[in-house]
Amino acid sequence: MPKDHSEVLQGTLDLMVLKTLDALGPLHGYGIARRIEQVSEDLLRLNEGTVYASLLRLAQKGWIRSRWGASDNKRKARFYEITRTGQKQLAREAESWERISSVIGRVLRLESQH
């Protein structure tokens, strides 16, 4: 496995899961893990179990809901899907993430000019 993996930043996994569900519609946990892996182009090292912790947190906040269904290969799987409140929350969090990352970006640029 490649060496330059980053740890997932605390709190950002929820945002990624939420965005994934928003973008792709109903997905099971495995699918979410694959998608994040794919999008991050293997840059993120993900303990896939933490996806479930994240899903539980999101479900408890009412941002996603789940139901049982069958996966592509006929396996019984629980599908998660984003709720209306989840979508609103995603918009808010995405905006605040943009703000923070731009601030951090600016700060980091300052450092390097020094």
């Binding site: 896939e48 933490t50 479930y52 539980l56």
Partner: protein, 865 residues
């Protein structure tokens, strides 16, 4: 969650296999990529614990599992709760049916009972028809005002002829109540006019007598010998009035305004015969309505002083209030008593749970040390309580439903409490029970959960059960003390009612009820005129008298214990007074053999004879109370009075008192004997009355023979209300018996539960003091000393409880004043007996643990710790 993760791992592994790994490598790689599996699962489980229903389900499962291991505790707690909640639910259902539940009519809270107030004594009294008509036409406060009067009707079209309870009402009864007849219509205003004969049948009568024939409408049916047109059939379940026997026939006041009658009831302003009920107009309060009715009453009193001077006031109260009347207080008392029982049961359950808490003290301390939060432990205890509460209440509600369904109708047939038999477990009652369960659970889990809060880890773990027990023990003792106190209140209250009931049973009714058969005969006025009625009565009594097994036969009405039925004013010859100022007293009309047949001794003068008839001088017999009240210190024999009672077209006339008889109780539930004076039937032939047979054999054996005689004389004359004298006595005290049996039962249960509570605590004390007792025995203590330790303990608890309960018990005796008859509630004997009973029960409960203490083997106990 497990399935989901397993599926995830499988899919991941498949992916790796597809990428070229061996299945085994893929399995491990998948696990690695997933992360710490066990930790993850635990993490998830902890987080997951949140949907409250799941927590509850888990705790409930846990509790059930716990109780499976402690079956004794669980079963006894559930039984006690079921008993307490069952009894409370049943009593509440009765209270609800009788007192609280609205009347089954449209806008029931606007229905008012309307009566006159007699200013002599201020008691409510019926209205005369002329007064009712004036009130009806002059008032501006009632949308409708309807009068109603009990009567009995004889139906003769099909044999055997039957007598049914009926009601004579003004025309708009059904519109007043907002009730639509199931078939046909109600009455029309013109059907109040003399000569109209229109009836509405009850659904029951329509079904039973007319086979539910829809062609019944406008059919002509013989009722009381008259042809009545059937105008309608009341809806199923319709009952009006709600008290008294279930009415089967309603007819209009034309019945009391017969054109053939010289002075029909409907025109006698002095005859107070009818009740009234009205619907308040919007915006009027009962008090405002009463104010206006008072004005009308006042003007009537001025216009007709002879008849109305004493009824210049009125009473307007909600009909529901009139109906619940005297049952209200006793039923609230019952609810209070059953509440005490429930409290005692709760204390016992709390005690049981505390005892269980002691056993589990170590377990809890350990779990607490291992990280269980206090909240979790408390929650667990609460769910245990809830499980007990729910199971107990389910049992209780079932018990209540059974009692109401089966036991109440058995007991309740005679009980003159309106709507009693309508009691059942419905949604309202269920709501009450559920509220009760939560209150109960809160109560009995209070002490055990408080214990958790005080859980001191270090000491508990070190010292084990013995140490935790000390604090628990104080609480448990307090609970027992409270139980004894509550038990005393309950017991003393019950004693008062039992003593009062014993007085009612034992006191002399003034006649001999044993070997007495009584029954009514329904003569129709159209087929029997007055002379015919007298002749029929003569023939009937003559035939009955010679039946084998009959010692004496007579007739009279009202019979003793039938209450104040007719009160008639009279003028004393020596002290004449204006009409409204004349005294009044109960009267009865009897045939010559009446006093002998009833077993009412003649004290002075002579009995009525066959010669006291229309042509003979008018005579009366009075009872002792009458003689004392109106001729104090004088010999009443030979005195003459002028009663305001006459028959037919005759004017009232002076009558000579020819005899004095002993007091026979007229009203069953009063402490004193009321004055009454008796008319010979032939000199006041109002009604043939109730036939009484004094028998030489058990009275019921003569029923069929008597019926045969009656049928032989006239098969259209029905025999009704066949009762033995003892049944009459028993029915007359049915209401206090009902109350007394229930209160006595509750007190018994309370006593038992208190004893059980005491037993539990003392048993535990002995267990705890085993070592001390062992040492004492080892050091040579006598059996007496050891017994003394336990009994002293018991006595201390009991004495503290009795002291605490004394105040409540005395308050209970205060409360009972005016409700219980024939005893002085303040008599200290009741409190003393209550204390003694509790002390005896308590010491009996202490006996078993005391014996156990004696059997302590010093060697064993000394070694055991």
């Amino acid at each position: 969650m497990d399935d989901e993760i397993r599926a995830h791992l499988d899919m991941l592994a498949e992916r790796f296999v597809a990428g070229g790994m061996s299945p085994r490598e893929a399995f491990y790689a998948a696990r690695k990529q997933f992360g710490g599996l066990t930790q993850m699962k635990e993490d998830l489980r902890d987080r997951r614990a949140l949907p409250p229903a799941d927590v509850l389900a888990r705790d409930v499962r846990h509790a059930l599992r716990g109780f499976r291991k402690a079956k004794g505790v669980a079963v006894s707690a559930i039984l006690m709760l079921a008993l307490g909640i069952g009894a409370s639910t049943a009593v509440f259902a009765v209270l609800d049916a009788v007192v609280l539940r609205p009347l089954p009519f449209v806008q029931p809270d606007r229905l008012m009972s309307f009566r006159s107030l007699d200013r002599r004594g201020g008691h409510p009294t019926n209205l005369s028809y002329p007064n009712f008509f004036d009130f009806r036409s002059k008032n501006r406060v009632f949308d409708r005002l309807v009068c109603y009067r009990d009567n009995r009707f004889t139906l003769t079209d099909t044999l055997p002829a039957i007598q049914v309870p009926g009601e004579i009402v003004s025309w708009d009864l059904f519109p007043l109540l907002g009730v639509q007849p199931a078939l046909g219509r109600g009455f029309h205003p013109e059907e109040e006019k003399p000569g109209m004969h229109v009836a509405v049948l009850s659904h029951t009568l329509w079904q039973s007598r007319f086979n539910g024939d829809p062609g019944i409408l406008n059919r002509r049916v013989h009722i009381n010998g008259q042809l009545f047109t059937i105008a309608g059939v009341a809806p199923e379940g319709f009952q009006f009035p709600q008290d008294g026997p279930a009415v089967q026939v309603w007819t209009t006041i034309a019945e009391d305004n017969s054109p053939t009658d010289a002075t029909p009831l409907a025109v006698q302003r002095g005859a107070r015969v009818t009740d009234a009920i009205g619907r308040l107009k919007p915006g009027f309060t009962p008090a405002a309505a009463q104010g206006q009715m008072d004005q009308i009453a006042n003007s009537l009193a001025k216009a007709y002083p002879d008849d109305d001077r004493n009824v210049d006031k009125t009473l307007v109260i909600p009909e529901l209030e009139r109906l619940a009347g005297n049952s209200r207080t006793p039923l609230w008392i019952l609810l209070g008593a059953v509440g005490l029982v429930l409290l005692i049961a709760c204390a016992n359950v709390a005690n049981l749970l505390l005892a269980r808490g002691i056993e589990r003290g170590r377990e809890f301390a350990l779990r607490s040390a291992l990280g269980a939060s206090r909240l979790a432990l408390t929650r667990e205890l609460l769910s245990e309580s809830l499980v007990l509460g729910v199971l107990g209440s389910a049992g209780g509600i079932l018990l209540a439903a059974l009692i109401l369904r089966f036991a109440l109708p058995l007991a309740g047939d005679d009980i003159p409490i309106p709507r009693l038999l309508q009691a059942g477990v419905d949604l309202r009652v269920l709501g009450f029970s559920i509220a009760l369960v939560f209150a109960t659970v809160a109560l009995f889990s209070l002490a055990p959960t408080a214990q958790i809060a005080r859980l001191d880890l270090a000491t508990s773990l070190k010292a084990g059960a013995a140490n935790i027990a000390r604090g628990h023990h104080r609480v448990r003792s307090l609970l027992v003390v409270a139980q004894v106190a509550l038990g005393l209140v309950l017991l003393v209250g019950a004693e008062l009612f039992i003593a009062s009931f014993a007085y009612l049973v034992r006191r002399d009714p003034g006649f001999r009820p044993e070997r007495l058969l009584t029954f009514g005969v329904g003569l129709s006025e159209t087929r029997y005129n007055t002379a015919g009625e007298i002749a029929f009565s003569d023939r009937l009594i003559e035939r009955l008298r010679v039946l084998p097994g009959v010692r004496a036969a007579a007739a009279g009405f009202p019979l003793p214990l039938e209450g104040h039925q007719m009160s008639v004013g009279f003028d004393i010859e020596e002290r004449p007074a204006a009409v409204p100022d004349r005294p009044a007293s109960d009267i009865a009309v009897v045939t010559p053999g009446f006093f002998g047949a009833m077993g009412i001794p003649l004290l002075q003068g002579r009995n009525f004879t066959e010669h006291d008839d229309t042509g003979a001088p008018k005579v009366l017999i009075v009872n002792e109370a009458f003689a004392h009240a109106f001729f104090p210190g004088e010999n009443p024999i030979g005195k003459r009075i002028l009663p305001g009672a006459s028959s037919g077209s005759e004017e009232p006339s002076l009558r000579e008192i020819v005899g004095v008889v002993a007091n026979a109780k007229q009203a069953p539930l009063t402490a004193t004997s009321d004055p009454i004076y008796y008319f010979p039937f032939k000199q006041l032939p109002w009604d043939i009355g109730t036939i009484v047979l004094r028998t030489a054999v058990p009275p019921r054996e003569l029923e069929s023979a008597a019926r045969a005689v009656l049928t032989d004389l006239d098969r259209e004359v029905p025999m009704f209300r066949v009762r033995t004298g003892e049944e009459r006595s028993s029915a007359s005290i049915a209401a206090p018996r009902f109350l007394t049996v229930l209160l006595g039962g509750f007190a018994g249960i309370g006593l038992l539960l208190t004893a059980v509570g005491l037993y539990g605590v003392l048993s535990y004390t002995v267990l705890r003091q085993r070592r001390e007792i062992g040492v004492r025995i080892a050091l040579g203590a006598a059996r007496g000393d050891v017994l003394g330790v336990v009994l002293r303990n018991a006595m201390r608890l009991i004495a503290a409880g009795l002291l605490l309960g004394l105040g409540g018990a005395i308050a209970a005796t205060r409360l009972a004043r005016g409700i219980v008859l024939g005893i002085r509630p303040g008599n200290p004997i009741f409190v003393i007996v209550g204390c003694a009973a509790l002390a005896v029960a308590g010491l009996a409960a202490a006996y078993v643990p005391a014996r156990r203490a004696l059997s302590v083997d010093p060697m064993q106990t000394l070694r055991s710790e």
